[in-house]
C-alpha cells in the first residue's frame, strides 16, 4: 500500500539530513569520541585508566566548543521534526557535558573503582554514551526520539551501575535498576502508543495542535498521561516512582551515583519540561486548558509527596550515599515546583536550580569519594572525628550540604530563592506548596547536619592515626567546587541570566 518514493524525493530527504547534520555536530562528535575511547581501550595496555580518563575529559571539554558554536545558529527543527536545536537544549548540552566531565573526574579519583582488574575502557565510553543520550533527551521533539534517547541513557546506566562486578550490592543495584527501568520505559512506551493513537502524530508540537484542535477522549488521555508520567517520574526519581533510586544509588559506584543523581535526573526534567510545555496544550495564560490542569494536579501531588517523603525518610539513613539518594528525591520535588508555575520565571528557576544542584551534589559526592578512599566506608558512624583529620574535606562537605539545605550564601539558596520567587509570583495560588517546601527544607537541615555533626562534633572510637592527607589535585578540585558554590551564591547574576536566556524552547510559548 505504500508506494516507493521517487528519486527526487530521496534527494530532498538526503539534503534535509545533510542540512540537519550541521546542527547535530556535538552529538556526532561525542559518538565519535565513544568509538575512539573503545579503540583506545583496545590499543592501550597496562595502567591505562589515567590516560582514558584524561582522554575522556579532554574529549568532553572539546565538545563545549561545538556547543558554543551552536549559539550562532537559529532555532531549528531537524530531521523532520525529530530533533530541535534551541537555547533550552544548548543549556542542557553544556550541563550534561560538565556533569560528564565531573563524573569522570570523580571516577578517576575513586580508588575502589580503579582497583578492579577489569579495565575502565567501556566505563568511560559508556559515560560518554550517556552524555549523548541525555543531550538527545533534552532536545528531541518526537516521541520516538525521546524513547530512543531515554533507552540509550538507561542501557548505559544499567551497565555502569553494575560495573563493580565482584560487588554484590553493585550487581543487585543493576538488576533492580534494570527491571524497574525496563518496566517503566515499557509503561512510557505504552503511554506513547496511546497518545499516537489519539493524535496520529509523534511530533510533540503537532500532538499539541491535534489535541487542542480536535479534542480527545479524556479517559484514554489520562491513562496515557499517567503511563507517561510513570516513565518520566522514574527518570526524575520522584515519589511514587522513586523506589529504585535509594537502592541503586547505594549500590552503584559512587561516581555513577553522582552522575545518575544529577545527570539522568536533569535529563528527565529536560524531557518532562519539553513534553509538558510543548506536547500538552496550554491556553494563553497557561492554566485554562483541561489537560494541562490534569498534568498540573499530578505534578503538584508528585512534588508535594517527593518533598515530604524524601526529606522525612532521609532522617533515618545511616549510609551517606543512601541519605543523599533520599535528598535527591526531595530535590526532585523542589524542582517540580518550578515546573508547576508553567512560566518563563519558573523554567529559569528550574534551570538555575539544576545548575546549583550540579555543583553542590557532585561536590558532595566527590568529597564522599575522597573520604571513602581514606576510610573505605560510607557509613555515618565512620565519619566520626574526621573533621579534624580532613579539615578541607569537612569544610567543603559542610558547604555543599548547607547549599543543599538552601542556606545563604550558597548557590543552593539562590536556586530555592528563584523557585519560591516563581511560586509566590503566582500570588497565593501555590502558597501551600511553598509552605511545604520551606518546612521540609527545615527538616532537611537536620539530616544534612548529621554529617558535619559526626565529622566535627563527635570523636571517633576508632583510632585515626593513619595518614589522611589527600592529593593536591583532589584538594584543588574540592576547593574549586566549594568556592564556586559560594561564589555563585553571592554573584549569581550571570548564571541566572543565562538560565533565563535558555528558558525558551522550540514551539513552546513561555511568558
Amino acid at each position: 500500500m505504500f508506494e516507493m518514493p521517487s528519486g527526487a524525493e530521496i534527494q530532498s530527504i538526503i539534503s534535509t539530513l545533510r542540512a540537519g547534520a550541521d546542527y547535530f555536530i556535538p552529538e556526532l562528535y561525542l559518538s565519535a569520541l565513544f568509538m575512539v575511547l573503545i579503540i583506545l581501550d583496545l590499543v592501550l595496555g597496562g595502567r591505562k585508566n589515567r590516560i582514558l580518563a584524561s582522554a575522556t575529559i579532554i574529549g568532553l571539554l572539546g565538545t563545549l566548543f561545538f556547543i558554543f558554536k551552536q549559539h550562532a545558529m537559529p532555532d531549528a527543527e531537524l530531521f523532520f521534526g525529530m530533533y530541535a536545536l534551541d537555547r533550552f537544549g544548548i543549556f542542557f548540552k553544556y550541563f550534561f557535558v560538565l556533569t560528564g566531565v565531573l563524573a569522570v573526574v570523580i571516577s578517576a579519583e575513586d580508588e575502589h573503582l580503579n582497583s578492579q582488574e577489569a579495565g575502565m575502557g567501556e566505563y568511560y565510553a559508556l559515560i560518554v554514551a550517556m552524555v549523548v543520550g541525555m543531550m538527545m533527551m533534552a532536545s528531541s521533539t518526537d516521541l520516538l526520539m525521546m524513547f530512543l534517547s531515554m533507552e540509550l541513557v538507561a542501557l548505559s546506566a544499567y551497565v555502569l551501575t553494575g560495573y563493580l562486578k565482584r560487588e554484590p550490592r553493585s550487581s543487585e543495584a543493576a538488576l533492580k535498576y534494570l527491571v524497574y527501568g525496563a518496566v517503566s520505559s515499557g509503561m512510557l512506551l505504552y503511554g506513547f502508543s496511546l497518545i499516537y493513537g489519539l493524535t496520529a502524530q509523534t511530533n510533540i508540537s503537532k500532538i499539541s495542535m491535534e489535541l487542542s484542535q480536535h479534542g480527545y477522549d479524556p479517559l484514554v488521555m489520562i491513562l496515557a498521561t499517567l503511563l507517561v508520567m510513570a516513565g518520566l517520574g522514574y527518570k526524575i526519581g520522584a515519589v511514587p516512582f522513586h523506589f529504585w533510586s535509594p537502592d541503586v544509588y547505594e549500590g552503584a559506584p559512587t561516581p555513577i551515583t553522582a552522575y545518575l543523581s544529577v545527570g539522568s535526573k536533569a535529563a528527565g526534567f529536560a524531557l518532562l519540561m519539553r513534553f509538558f510545555f510543548v506536547a500538552v496544550p496550554h491556553a494563553a495564560d497557561g492554566i485554562e486548558d483541561m489537560l494541562s490542569i490534569d498534568w498540573l494536579t499530578i505534578l503538584m501531588i508528585i512534588s508535594a509527596a517527593s518533598m515530604i517523603y524524601g526529606n522525612v525518610v532521609a532522617i533515618w539513613q545511616k549510609n551517606v550515599k543512601r541519605l543523599l539518594a533520599y535528598s535527591s528525591i526531595a530535590h526532585a520535588g523542589y524542582l517540580l515546583l518550578g515546573i508547576i508555575t508553567m512560566d518563563k520565571v519558573g523554567t529559569q528557576a528550574v534551570l538555575l536550580y539544576l545548575a546549583s544542584y550540579l555543583l553542590m551534589n557532585i561536590g558532595a559526592f566527590y568529597v564522599v569519594v575522597v573520604i571513602a578512599n581514606k576510610t573505605g566506608s560510607e557509613n555515618l558512624e565512620d565519619y566520626r572525628g574526621l573533621g579534624r583529620k580532613m579539615p578541607l574535606a569537612g569544610a567543603a562537605l559542610t558547604v555543599f550540604l548547607i547549599s543543599l539545605v538552601g542556606l545563604p550564601p550558597t548557590f543552593g539558596f539562590i536556586g530555592k530563592l528563584m523557585i519560591f520567587t516563581a511560586l509566590i509570583g503566582k500570588g497565593d495560588l501555590f502558597m501551600w506548596l511553598a509552605l511545604i517546601g520551606i518546612l521540609t527544607s527545615v527538616i532537611s537541615l537536620y539530616y544534612y547536619m548529621l554529617i558535619p555533626l559526626n565529622m566535627f562534633l563527635r570523636d571517633s572510637d576508632r583510632n585515626l592515626d593513619k595518614d589522611y592527607r589527600t592529593g593536591m589535585l583532589s584538594n584543588a578540585i574540592t576547593v574549586v567546587l566549594m568556592v564556586l558554590t559560594i561564589y555563585f551564591g553571592l554573584f549569581f547574576q550571570p548564571v541566572a541570566e543565562y538560565a533565563r536566556y535558555s528558558a525558551s524552547m522550540f514551539g513552546a510559548v513561555l511568558n
Binding site: M187, L219, L226, W244, V313
Partner: protein, 760 residues
C-alpha cells in the same frame, strides 16, 4: 546663674559621695583605713549645711521660703503626641529641706565620730566608712531632690546602702538573710511607689513635684478621682516599705544585724524617716480617702509594734520596735492632716532615738557584745554618762513634758483627736485610741528597759550557756563584731566608753530638750519648726469646696510657685501664709482655703489640751506600771507572762508576721518558681522535642515504608489479583517487584480517582 545656696547644697550632696569613692578604692592604702576622710568630709558637709540652716531658718525665717533649681537630665526630643519632652532633675531648698539637711549631716557626723570608737579594730573598718558615705549621699539626695524620679533613684540607693550596711558582717548567715530581707521588702514597697509615679507621669509627662501639683490643681488629671487616691496610696507604699509600716515592717527589727551605729543612723534617725518625709512632700495631692488609709495604717503600726516591744529581751530590738511604733505615729499624724506635727516628730524622734541607739551601742560595747537585757542591770554605776543621756532620751521618747518628744507627740495626738471629731465616725475614734494606748505602752517598755539595764544588780552571771535561744530563738541576733564572744563573767571590764563615743550621746541628749524647739514646753506649735513648716494646702479639690474658691486659692499658690523658675530662684509667700505673718505667735497653722483642712486644723487646736492631759496621764501610768513591775517587783513579770501566755507569745513572736510571710509569700513564690521551671523543662521544651520525635517516628514509619506498607500493599494487590481471576492465585513477590506493584497501585489509584471525578 544658680543660687549660692543651691551650689552649697550640691557640695554637701557630693562630699559624702567623694568620701565613698575614695574609701572604697583606697581604704587599705590610707592610714587608719582613712576614717579621717569620712569624718572630715562629713564635718565639712555639716558645716556647710549648718550655714544653709542659718541662712534659711534664722535669717529668712519665712514659712514660704523656697528656692529651686533644675537641669535637663534626659532630652527625649520632640515626642509625638507630647511635643518637646525633657526629663529634669532638680534641687529644692525650703525650710524643711534646710532642717533635714542639717539634721542628717549632724547625725551622720556624730555617727562617724562614734564609729571611730565603736568599730575600731574591725578588719573592714575602712569599708564601713565608705558605706556610711554612700548612705549619707543617698539620704541627702532624697532630702534635696525636686522630682519624683530623682527621689525614687535615691530611694533605691539608700536601699542599697542599707543593704550593704545591714550585711556588713556578711559572714553571718543571719546578717545575710537580714540584708536580703530588707532589700526585698523595700522593693515591694517601691513597686507601689513606682506605680504611683507612673500614674502621675502618664497624665502629665513630667516627674517634677511642682508641675504635677499645678496640673492636678488645674484639674488636668484626666483619670477618675479613684486613680488619684490610688496614686496617693501607691506612693505611700514606698513609705510603708522604707518606714517599716505595717504590713512591711518585718525587715526593720532584723536590720539590727547591722553594726549599732548603723542602726542609729539609718534604721532610727534618717532613712526610715525618709518615708515620712516623702509622704510629706506629696502631702498636697493626697485625697481624703488616701489620708484615711494612711492614718489607719499608721495607728495600726504604732499600736502593733508597741505591743511587740513590751516583751522583747534584745535591747536593740526593743528600740527597733519602738522606732517602728514612732514612725507609725508620724504616718498617723500625716494621715490625720497634722503635717507639721508629724514632720516635727520626725525631727525630734531623730535626735532622741539616735541617742538611744548610740547609748545602747555604748552598753553593748561595754558589755562585750551582750545584747540581752535579762543579763544586764546595774550599769548606772559603771556608765554614768551613758545612763544620764539614755534616760533623757527615754523620757523624750516616752513623751514626758519638758522633752522635745512630748511636744511633737502631743501635737500628733491632738490632731488625731480632732480628726476623729471632724470625721465624726465611731471607727475613726480608733485612731486616737490606738495612739494613746501605744503612748502608754511606750512609756511602759521604755521604763522597763531603763530599769533592766541600769538599775538593780548585774545579772550577767545568771546567763545560761545556751541562752541564745528562748521560745523561738528569734533573738540570736547578737551583734557579733569581729571580736567574737568574750567570756560572760561578772562586770569586770564593764566601764564607761571613751569620749569619742560619749560626746555624740551628750549632743543628742541636749537636742532632746524642749527649749531647742519651742519656748513653751507644752506647745510645740509655738516653736519655730511648726511655724516654718506649715501644713500646705491641698491641691485636690474636695467635694464640698466651691470649685471657684479652691481654684482661686490653689491658683494663687500655683502662680507663686510657677514663678520659681528653673535657673533663678525666687522667694514667694503663699496666700495662705501672707495674713499669717505677723500673728505667728499663736500659730494655729495657716488658714486653709480647703474647708476640710481648715476644720481639721481648728479641731486639732481645740483638742490641744485634752491631748496633753490624756497623754501625760498615759505616760505617767505607763512609767508607773514599769516601776511597779520591775522596781518594786509588786507584780512578777514571769508569772504574768505565764498567766497570759498566749498573749505573751503572740507579742513575743511579733504577731507571727515572719512565719505568716514565710508560709505564704516566700514559700508560695518558691513553689511557683519550681512549678514553672518544671513546666519549662518538661512541657514547653517537651512540646518542641515532642514535635521532633514525632517527626523521627514518622520518618521511621516511612523508612520502614518498603518493609511494612509496601508489603501490605502487595498483600492487598494479592487480594485484588485473586478476585480478578483464578489464574493469579499463587503470587510470589520480591522487593523490586513490589516496587513495581507500588507504581501500578499509584497509577491505577489515581486513575480510579479520576474516574470517580469524571462520573461526577
Amino acid at each position: 546663674m544658680m543660687h549660692s545656696l543651691i551650689q552649697l547644697s550640691i557640695v554637701v550632696l557630693l562630699l559624702p559621695l567623694l568620701s565613698f569613692v575614695v574609701l572604697i578604692f583606697f581604704n587599705r592604702r590610707l592610714p587608719r583605713m582613712g576614717d579621717f576622710v569620712g569624718v572630715g568630709m562629713l564635718g565639712t558637709a555639716f558645716a556647710i549645711s549648718a550655714y544653709i540652716f542659718w541662712t534659711v531658718i534664722v535669717q529668712h525665717y519665712d514659712p514660704a521660703y523656697r528656692i529651686a533649681w533644675n537641669f535637663t537630665w534626659l532630652d527625649l526630643g520632640n515626642v509625638p503626641g507630647v511635643g518637646p519632652l525633657q526629663v529634669k532633675m532638680g534641687i529644692v531648698i525650703d525650710n524643711l529641706t534646710a532642717i533635714m539637711l542639717a539634721m542628717v549631716t549632724l547625725i551622720s557626723l556624730l555617727v562617724h565620730l562614734y564609729s571611730t570608737g565603736y568599730m575600731a579594730g574591725d578588719k573592714n573598718y575602712g569599708r564601713f566608712f565608705a558605706y556610711l558615705g554612700i548612705f549619707t549621699f543617698s539620704m541627702l539626695g532624697i532630702v534635696l531632690s525636686d522630682t519624683l524620679l530623682s527621689i525614687y533613684i535615691f530611694w533605691e540607693l539608700v536601699g542599697l546602702s542599707s543593704y550593704l550596711l545591714i550585711g556588713f558582717y556578711f559572714e553571718k548567715d543571719s546578717a545575710a538573710d537580714a540584708q536580703k530581707k530588707a532589700f526585698l521588702t523595700n522593693r515591694v514597697g517601691d513597686i507601689g511607689m513606682w506605680l504611683g509615679i507612673l500614674i502621675l507621669y502618664s497624665q502629665f509627662h513630667t516627674f517634677g513635684y511642682q508641675e504635677i501639683f499645678q496640673n492636678i490643681a488645674a484639674g488636668k488629671f484626666n483619670l477618675s478621682n479613684g486613680w488619684l487616691t490610688a496614686a496617693g496610696i501607691l506612693l505611700f507604699f514606698g513609705c510603708v516599705g522604707k518606714s517599716a509600716q505595717f504590713p512591711l515592717h518585718i525587715w526593720l527589727p532584723d536590720a539590727m544585724e547591722g553594726p549599732t551605729p548603723v542602726s542609729a543612723l539609718i534604721h532610727a534617725a534618717t532613712m526610715v524617716a525618709a518615708g515620712v518625709y516623702f509622704v510629706g512632700r506629696i502631702f498636697v495631692i493626697l485625697t481624703p480617702d488616701a489620708l484615711h488609709y494612711i492614718a489607719f495604717i499608721g495607728a495600726a503600726t504604732a499600736f502593733m509594734s508597741a505591743t511587740i516591744a513590751i516583751t522583747q529581751h534584745d535591747i536593740k530590738r526593743v528600740l527597733a520596735y519602738s522606732t517602728v511604733s514612732q514612725l507609725g505615729y508620724m504616718v498617723m499624724g500625716l494621715g490625720v492632716g497634722a503635717y507639721s506635727a508629724a514632720l516635727f516628730h520626725l525631727l525630734t524622734h531623730a535626735f532622741f532615738k539616735a541617742c538611744l541607739f548610740l547609748g545602747s551601742g555604748a552598753i553593748i560595747h561595754a558589755m562585750h557584745h551582750e545584747q540581752d537585757m535579762r543579763w544586764m542591770g546595774g550599769l548606772r554605776k559603771n556608765m554614768p554618762w551613758t545612763f544620764a543621756t539614755f534616760s533623757i532620751a527615754t523620757l523624750a521618747l516616752a513623751g514626758l513634758p519638758l522633752t522635745s518628744g512630748f511636744m511633737s507627740k502631743d501635737a500628733i495626738l491632738a490632731a488625731a483627736l480632732g480628726f476623729a471629731n471632724v470625721e465624726g465616725g465611731g471607727v475613726f475614734y480608733l485612731i486616737p485610741v490606738l495612739g494613746f494606748a501605744s503612748a502608754l505602752m511606750t512609756a511602759f517598755y521604755m521604763g522597763r528597759q531603763v530599769w533592766l539595764v541600769f538599775f538593780g544588780e548585774s545579772r550577767t552571771h545568771l546567763k545560761p550557756a545556751e541562752a541564745h535561744h528562748d521560745e523561738h530563738g528569734h533573738d540570736d541576733a547578737h551583734g557579733h563584731d569581729d571580736h567574737g564572744h568574750d567570756d560572760h563573767g561578772a562586770h569586770h571590764g564593764v566601764h564607761e566608753v571613751g569620749w569619742i563615743m560619749r560626746a555624740p550621746l551628750v549632743v543628742l541628749a541636749t537636742l532632746s530638750v524642749f527649749i531647742v524647739f519651742s519656748p513653751d514646753p507644752l506647745d510645740g506649735a509655738k516653736g519655730w519648726f511648726m511655724h516654718l513648716v506649715p501644713t500646705p494646702s491641698t491641691v485636690v479639690k474636695s467635694a464640698e469646696a466651691p470649685k471657684t474658691a479652691a481654684l482661686a486659692a490653689t491658683g494663687g499658690i500655683l502662680l507663686a510657685e510657677a514663678s520659681n523658675d528653673a535657673e533663678h530662684a525666687t522667694v514667694s509667700a503663699t496666700p495662705a501664709a501672707a495674713p499669717e505673718h505677723g500673728a505667728a505667735a499663736e500659730a494655729h497653722g495657716p488658714v486653709f482655703s480647703d474647708p476640710r483642712q481648715a476644720e481639721l486644723a481648728h479641731a486639732a487646736h481645740a483638742n490641744h489640751f485634752t491631748a496633753i492631759y490624756l497623754s501625760s496621764g498615759m505616760v505617767a501610768f505607763g512609767i508607773g506600771l514599769a516601776l511597779v513591775v520591775y522596781a518594786f517587783g509588786a507584780i512578777d513579770p514571769e508569772k504574768t507572762a505565764q498567766a497570759i501566755r498566749p498573749l505573751y507569745l503572740y507579742s513575743f513572736n511579733k504577731w507571727y508576721w515572719d512565719e505568716i510571710y514565710d508560709a505564704t509569700v516566700i514559700r508560695g513564690s518558691m513553689l511557683i518558681a519550681r512549678a514553672l521551671a518544671w513546666f519549662d523543662t518538661n512541657i514547653v521544651d517537651g512540646i518542641v522535642n515532642g514535635v521532633a520525635t514525632t517527626f523521627r517516628k514518622f520518618a521511621f514509619l516511612n523508612a520502614g515504608f518498603d518493609k511494612y506498607v509496601v508489603d501490605g500493599a502487595v498483600n492487598f494487590t494479592a487480594f485484588f489479583v485473586q478476585t480478578s481471576g483464578a489464574v493469579m492465585r499463587k503470587i510470589q513477590t520480591g522487593k523490586v517487584q513490589t516496587y513495581l506493584v507500588m507504581v501500578m497501585v499509584a497509577v491505577l489509584g489515581y486513575f480510579a480517582v479520576y474516574l470517580v471525578q469524571l462520573m461526577k
